[in-house]
């Protein structure tokens, strides 16, 4: 690690957090999916959440993007409390996400999916859409250029006009990342970006994630089971189990934390 990079990392700690997640509780009937989790994500941070299946990682994402409304707690994103705000409003504030099981618009082409990511950036109404004159047409052209830049960034050129339902799984994952990026997010949530991918696809995705952090400067929260990827990429990691945060810190700290080892490997018989 160069001195410059260490300085950068230190600087990241000081800046105001883009997201503060404070003591959030969410339960489904008797099941406490999120039981008092708190964390902060810095302006230039890649924050990872790990934990066994059913630990509540995706529930945290669903609280963040407004799909679930928590029973208690506070979530402040970019200075605004977003509890109870509808998902499309939260999206407009600059939070975008990908899904664990791909949630693309299967009948639409790659380009249309990316253009849907631009939805909030296309500032025209239904009346201009009917006429397709000046306003709507110019907005479509300008945003098409942005979508094409994302096509270049994620190397999707050859798939542009294919309906996404026909594409290989790894490419679909990339298109979904592209759709989230097209929103020009202030915070990007990645739900298992490399789940089910082979080594080559995983490495491609890792490269894209690093590019997003270093070139586009977008803070990210990543949920992932691939420990190699998480330990290599993340600035800080939070481990959760049964809806509770059991450890938060740098990759090395979390890796060696007794509770994390316990959650993953179980108790040693004595």
């Amino acid at each position: 690690m160069t001195a410059q990079l260490a300085e950068d990392l230190a600087a990241r700690e000081v800046t105001d957090p883009i997201l503060t997640f404070t003591d959030v509780h969410l339960s489904f009937a008797g099941v406490k999916a999120v039981n008092g989790i708190s964390f902060e994500v810095g302006m230039r941070e890649l924050f990872a959440i790990i934990g066994p299946n059913g630990a509540g990682k995706t529930s945290v994402f669903n609280v963040l993007s407004g799909v679930y409304r928590p029973d208690a707690g506070r979530v402040v994103f970019n200075g605004v409390d977003i509890i109870g705000v509808r998902p499309h409003r939260i999206a407009a504030m600059g939070m975008s996400r990908t899904f664990q099981n791909i949630e693309l618009f299967a009948n639409l082409t790659v380009l249309d999916n990316l253009m849907l990511g631009r939805h909030n950036h296309l500032k025209y109404g239904a009346a201009s859409a009917f006429a397709w004159l000046g306003r709507a047409r110019n907005a479509e052209l300008a945003n098409r250029a942005v979508a094409e830049d994302i096509v270049d960034f994620l190397e999707l050129e050859q798939w542009r006009f294919y309906p996404v339902g026909l594409l290989p799984y790894g490419v679909q994952k990339r298109v979904e990342l592209g759709r989230a990026l097209a929103m020009e997010p202030k915070l990007l949530l990645l739900d298992e970006p490399v789940a089910g991918m082979n080594l080559e696809e995983t490495e491609d995705m890792a490269r894209f994630i690093l590019d997003i952090r270093d070139e586009l400067d977008i803070p990210m929260i990543m949920v992932e089971h691939d420990m190699g990827l998480v330990m290599d990429l993340a600035d800080r990691i939070m481990a959760v189990d049964f809806g509770k945060a059991i450890a938060t810190g740098t990759p090395t700290e979390v890796q060696n934390h007794p509770d994390v080892i316990h959650a993953y490997l179980g108790e040693e018989e004595s």
Binding site: S65, G66, V67, R86, P87, H88, A91, A92, S96, R97, F99, E103, L104, F105, A106, N107, L108, D112, M115, L116, G117, R118, H119, N120, L122, Y124, A126, S128, A129, F130, A131, W132, A136, R137, A139, E140, L141, A142, R144, A145, E148, D149, R179, A180, M183
Partner: protein, 381 residues
Amino acid sequence: MTETSTRFKSRTKRPSGRPELYTSYSQHLRMLNTRPKFVSVTAIVAVAALLPWVFDDQTLSLLGLGLAASIGAIGLNLVTGYAGQVSLGHAFFLAIGAYTAAALSGDPEDNELIGFGVTNVVVWLLAAGLVAAFFGVIVAPLATRLRGLYLAIVTLGLVFIGEHIFKEWPELTGGPGVGRPGPVPELFGVGLNTPGDFLTAEQKLYLLMLVTLIIFALLARNLVRSKVGRAFAAIRDRDIAAEVIGVNLTRYKVLAFAVSSFFAGVAGALLYTITGFIEPSSFNLLLSVQYIAMVLIGGVATISGSILGAMFITLIPALTRQLPNVAPFISGDATKAFNVFQLETVLYGLLIIGFLIFEPRGLFGIWIRIRNYWKAWPFTY
């Protein structure tokens, strides 16, 4: 983005012999973005515009009905094909349009029927669309709470409520078995449903339908290639993902119903200028099913498919009514055991099932197959 300037240029020359090579986004985003598309669409419109001088009046009436029904089918395709909100209530919105237009253009001297004497076709056509759209907006909130089969059942309820009201409101509808005259079309003092010096009533009405259809087809095509159309498709394919990327579900569902009902209202108003008579019991479930059939047979989520489907369904009766001459066991008499009217009803069902199983993309899909075959000819792929 150094090459931004050329990426946007619209007047750059297209290289010849490479129909799918685009050198700017505006070339690609054009509605008819290849020469064959441009030539064929121009040719179809030109032929359609010349038909009044080719066919006899009876055929023109039938084709006019098909053109008017096309507008309604496009409307249903917007809400069901594009936005994925299954609506069986289309007959209700057609009725709202038909009665709004008939009442506005009706004879104010008539003591038994509501009439305001506004015969300007543009005025009552817009009014028919707007009133229908208003009812669409009222119904739309149901779609924000229900989806799939449940929404279909609730919209089905609309048809029955509508049928009941139309039967029990003789001042507006004339009552069952009596009915009322259809809307009176007039433009700049020229009656469009009366024979003139140069054109017969059927020729004028046909041209009215053609012009209106072209306008509405263009509007619909613009809508579906815009952010609104994409938002509709997003709601159809994955509604939760659509919301998470910033699509306001409530707003776009309401918009889908409003636009769809507007188209249905306009179609309803036009249809009954041709028949010249509105019978309140004709706005039943079968009418809704016919429109579903148009969409499914023509091609879900395509504008040109909607027109194909509407023409197809409208022209079926003309063909089946010829059947008794060929196949004597089918009766042309509605009181006999197996008649052409029963056959038609069965045929709608069979066609829907057949298309769903063998060609889910409808007539439009068949066209795509033919096109792809000839694109690659003489190779197989």
